[in-house]
Subunit: 198 residues, 2 copies
């Protein structure tokens, strides 16, 4: 059955896609976009390099605005990111019967708790899967074995995480650079192909 | 690398084995035995039918005795089962660098909490994986697609769960039938081969 894997081009969501494809699911990699900035492009490129179907799921800008409001009020991104991801899953659940993401055991944000997961599954009549059974080290080791990975400083043009459009909107509201107080610079790992293609 | 999947012949641990084999792990299905009763036999048969390597891991009877003591004191199996499974994982971690089981998202018992998992991984320098990212319905659907499954009433001779040796010891201590107050009759699903072999 057609299965939505929420996709950023990172190793976690790429690994989830591989696990589900191996199990016989017809995987579609789905990158959400809120209409502020075309941040889906790096994810689309990773998906193409891996040979997976990729789709952009246009999602209401209101969800992004609400998340940004929470983040600015809190001064840190956790609650806003959780809200955003929850809303995205609900939206994806209106389009697919089986939805998955790359959230892993040690992730703290964004993460649904067990009650939110059950409510999502029951209210939308969907199945939800993630990588909660896999720890950080396991996923790093596996990804290195399976994927060709590029490590680099995150910029607006090489990342498809929620962070990009959130930062874009925050900077639009507060002026350039405002978002860098909330999201510090960091090195990211992006999947750019299969390891055996090297 | 050689990977231990704690194995009962049920669909959860069978599915975990398939996921890890698909990812390139060299899977060994491992059934624990405490020396009270050869309850590993049904699991060995399931493993053989699936074509996986299978091994019996002899484990101290003391662990079984401690668990039974907890169960008799509590009047219900939860704490004893958790204790038993935790000790089994610690024992397996002395024999393998990567260990896994079929514990899934909705399982309550046996289940390690996140602190126990991190302590297991750090103190034993191992990686631990389970099916915490997958819900009940997903695993049922997947198992039906992948495996040939036999549903039947659990007996002492068709099941390799911890329950069998626990019951054996309880009945030895308290007389035949004592354990049936604590473990009610139930229908089990046992993996007896691949679905495509039908």
């Amino acid at each position: 059955m057609k299965t939505c894997v929420l996709y950023s081009g990172g190793k976690d969501s790429s690994l989830m896609a591989v696990i589900l494809q191996n199990l016989g699911y017809q995987v579609e990699l789905v990158t959400v976009n809120f209409g502020k900035y075309p941040s889906w492009k790096p994810a689309a490129e990773s998906a193409e390099n891996l040979g997976f179907q990729h789709r952009i799921l246009e999602t209401s800008e209101k969800i992004l605005q609400d998340a940004v409001e929470m983040i600015l009020e809190d001064g840190y991104p956790n609650n806003g990111l959780n809200h955003l991801h929850h809303q995205v899953l609900l939206h994806a659940a209106s389009n697919y019967h089986i939805i998955a993401d790359g959230i892993r055991r040690d992730d703290r944000v964004p993460k649904l708790n067990i009650n939110q997961i059950r409510s999502l599954e029951d209210s939308k009549n969907v199945e939800y899967m993630n990588l909660a059974g896999f720890g950080h080290k396991t996923i790093d080791d596996l990804s290195r074995k399976i994927f060709k990975i590029k490590k680099e400083l995150t910029t607006i043009d090489n990342n498809s995480d929620y962070e990009i459009e959130i930062r874009y909107l925050i900077d639009e509201l507060g002026g350039d650079g405002t978002s860098s107080h909330i999201f510090p610079e960091h090195i990211q790992s992006r999947v750019i192909g299969w390891r055996e293609n090297e």
